[in-house]
């Protein structure tokens, strides 16, 4: 990334593959680059060089429109800020991804999911009428409604107190297991990270060595859901190994 006359390196060359059904935690301190990595993995952003595959689709070659389509078909999100649409009711917020994926039974699914997260009686409420924990439960329901292959969660408990946070985490993992979703979780909370099958650590834009080895070791190239080989250092031309 170019800032005035300096080149800022956000991510060092790295190689990460996530297998289908796997749950992986990306941990690291603030500014370590874990959120940048997540946005590239999810196809929200593009690396300045390198390759990203999601469900075997080359996101790095796709324009925004194509990446949108990939997200609509395969991806679910849970954000730290909940990011619900304030002028839509809880149910309508939940239905959105299903509607975008053209699912005919969006409403029934939404209602069922809201009931599952314990909000059966709050379906017609607006986000502003819900507590933080309730809003995040709506966001979780929204994340699972379109039956995504991969769920990206960015500090899902960051804005919640520890008790509510715990409840939210339980929900995410329950649904994750139940739906068989691949989970990519970004957090600086070690306890939360420990609940994932695998943990990688970001530090100054680099994935720490031992974890990458673990990652490579665990790679099953046919079942790989998401893999990234990213090289954001504009100064060097070091080639990046590629899996898949």
């Amino acid at each position: 990334m170019q800032v005035e006359d300096k080149t800022l390196v956000l991510l060092q060359p790295l190689n990460l593959t996530v297998a289908a059904g796997e749950s992986i935690a990306i941990v690291g301190s603030s500014g370590s680059g874990k959120t940048t990595l997540l946005s590239i993995l999810a196809g929200l952003d593009l690396p300045s060089s390198g390759q990203v595959y999601l469900k075997n689709q080359p996101l790095h070659q796709f324009n925004e429109e194509q990446r949108s389509q990939v997200r609509a078909q395969h991806v679910g999100f849970i954000f730290q800020q909940f990011l619900l649409i304030n002028s839509l009711t809880a149910l309508e917020n939940v239905m959105l991804p299903a509607e975008l994926a053209n699912m005919p039974d969006a409403q029934a699914r939404g209602e069922a999911l809201l009931a599952q997260v314990g909000l059966a009686d709050r379906m017609e409420h607006y986000p502003s009428q819900l507590s933080g924990g309730e809003q995040q439960r709506v966001a979780i329901a929204r994340a699972f409604i379109a039956k995504p292959d991969i769920l990206f969660a960015d500090e899902p408990t960051g804005n919640l107190d520890s008790k509510t946070g715990q409840h939210i985490i339980d929900l995410i993992f329950d649904l994750n297991v139940k739906e068989g979703t691949t989970l990519v979780l970004v957090t600086h909370d070690a306890k939360l990270a420990a609940r994932c099958q695998r943990q990688v650590e970001m530090d100054s834009g680099a994935l720490t060595e031992p974890l990458i080895e673990t990652a490579l070791a665990n790679t099953d190239e046919n079942q790989a859901d998401s893999q990234t080989t990213s090289h954001d250092d504009l100064e060097s031309k070091t080639s990046v190994s590629q899996v898949g």
């Binding site: 929200l44 997200r71 609509a72 078909q73 954000f79 990011l83 959105l96 991804p97 509607e99 975008l100």
Partner: protein, 859 residues
Amino acid sequence: MSIVKEKASSMWFTQSLRLLHHELRRGELTIIFIAIMLAVATVFSLTGFSGQIKYAIVANSTNTIGADRVLRMSSEVDTSIIEKSQTLALQYARKIETESMAFAGDNMLLSELDAVSDTYPLRGELRIKTSLTQIASVVANAPKLGTVWVEPSVLSRLNVNIGEVIEIGVAQLIIAGIVTDIPDRSYRAFIAGPTVILNIADMPKTELIQPGSRITYKYLFAGETQAIESFEKWIKPQINESQRWYDAKAAQNRLSRILDTAEKFLSLASMLGIVLAAVAVAVASRRYGQRHQPNVSIFKALGASISHVRKLYCLHWTLLSCLSIAAGLVVGYGLMLLGANAIASYLSLADAPLTFVPFLTAIFTGLLCAIAFAIHPIMTLVKSSPLNVIRGFSQEKVARFGWYQLPPLLALFLLLLVFSQDLVMSAALLFGGVVVSFILLLFGRGLMSAGRSVGTKAGKSWHLALANLKRRASENSVQLVSFTIAIMLLLLITVMKSSILLEWEQQFPDDTPNHYLINITQDQIQPLKTFVEEKNIANQGFYHIYRGRLSAINGVKTVDKDDDSQVKNVEKTDDTEKQQAKKTKQQETRQGMGRELGLTWRTELPDENEIIAGQWWQVSDETPQVSIESNIAERLAVKLGDELTFTLGSDEFTVPVTSIRQVNWQSRQLNFIMVFNQSVLEQFPTTSISAWSISDDNRDMVYRFLANFPTITVMDFAAIMAQLNGIIEQVTVAIQLILILVVLAGSLVLIAQVQASMEERERELAILRTLGAKGSLLRNSVLYEFVALGAIAGLMASVGMEIAVYILQSQVFNMSGSFHFQYWLVGIGAGAFFVGLIGMLSCWRLLKLSSVTLIRRTM
């Protein structure tokens, strides 16, 4: 599969409707809704209203003269003119106009008398009803001999019915019908009374036509354009200075011009309202774009395609605009009725048809606003990146100047053009508006910066408030300019209205004459003199009056600049004459008076007159001489010793100027521009004029006495003044109505701006709270910020008002300029209060939030 596909294709539609429905219900779209609605309502009400005023003016007077051309004169026409018109196969009609008392038993009424020939009217329709119960009127020419048609109020005021007899002069005539339409009626406000129409052949029976009577003879001509034009070519050189030849366009009289000016002012003020409403739409639509940015990012992050988002928001915006436009039409219609109602007693708009023009103009305005002002925000909105969901929603900085400013400017220009239908004026307004705004902006910025340095010395809340004001200076400048202009106009109207009315009232002491008696014959003077002495009625004596024209100065024939100026001058008040005297003193050295003058002779210098050059003549001095009023002398560049030539009927005489008088025109004295010594005018036939002060108590007694002299015309000045005051009052109401719209639009801009700065304000308050600022400090700092903004607008408005009032007073109304510091306080106070109130109300929800909520919402 096809069902799924169909559902998918309409999903954006459903989602768009859903969003719109919720957002409308939750009041999230209120500002933009009101902004578009206001723009539409303003345009609709004003286009409709001014259209109806125009229609009423046209219908009541100006453009119909009952013929293609009219020759108006104070004596009968030479037969050669009629013969010529007949050789050209022109149609021709005659009309005699005068004022006279009408009597029925003990009742009397001053009326406008129209004696018409059988061919009248040549153009337009004279419509009458022959019974009160008759619904439809019928077209007529002249009444049969021995009968009259009257306007309805004659019946009620004389307490008579159709079929009964009234007396006009010394003639007894039967009322045969009611007049509903007179094609060439002059505008009603300054006319003596309701109209009575009689056959011109009955006129001699009334004995109203006597030497020196105020009689107007009109000769109406109509025919093929070519014939009319060749007749015009032939007749124009023969028209002398005491005659007028005019067509419909030149016939506009004074009141219609006043209304026309008022209507122009209304248009200008309303354009300001439209511009402000458009600015409100612009600000609100930018806010709309910013507000929806997170939604678009979320939609996109969840996989919505650009086309999905584009369709969704285009529909959203279109529906919103359509709803606002529809609401605007309803509100605008209401406002139009309100405006028409306000001036209803002076101008009946009931018959004026409501055309499609205001509808179409208003809809066009709404669409234009909705498209031109929203195109950039919506394009930016649709482009919102899904990455924002991770990175946060920073408001994208827009370049200060760029192509995106073009559509709004073009739209504004188009709006002004459509509304004014005047290319030059629209361009001037837009350019002038930009320049004035720029000047106000500079001053405003200066004041806001000055406020900042004052603030550092003031208390904590003020410090914070003024720092914020300065920091948000560029956002604030829009509302600063709009409030300044709105406050300035309101102050201007208030100050001008009260100072004009006050000045008029102050000028007239209680014994000021309130009635003029015109057309007094020489043998009537003695009984009248005896009467006023016996009854002790204050009066100004009797003046002989002769109607004549100034035809040459030092042997050089006077010319009028053009026919039109002749028309204008006839209608000018003495005040504006003085004004014009100043303006034109240099370039029009041999400019004539352009009208017939009332001439008189005196032995003594009249009251309220002062000789400023030369000398007043001795009573015994029989050398012909004239004394001229100073302003006119200046305007005509006449000096002592100059020889003036006058035409009286067919006679011409030349006299030297021996004195120049300064006359107090503001007094309601009988004043004369040209006063001669007795020997000059004695030989000519004359009538006399007098001014009496008649109190309400003895009005009846005086009227009854005057009924013995049917040929004398009585003009009730008080009634005319009351009418004039009434008109000023009504026009003011109409203008204030518009200014209320302007203030509303300005408020909307303010609210929209506050809304746009809401997130930023939230963040600031959260930080300040976290740092331990007390609630009262925060509340006061927000309050003071708006109060200061309003006060600055008020201050600038007061200065602007003072300049404008000075220019108007000295240049237009010819009054002495004065300062109005009490209104400065009003302006500053009102600005501070109003802006403070609106600002506080729009921030209220924010200030009510508890610290915890505030911090949670923004962190």
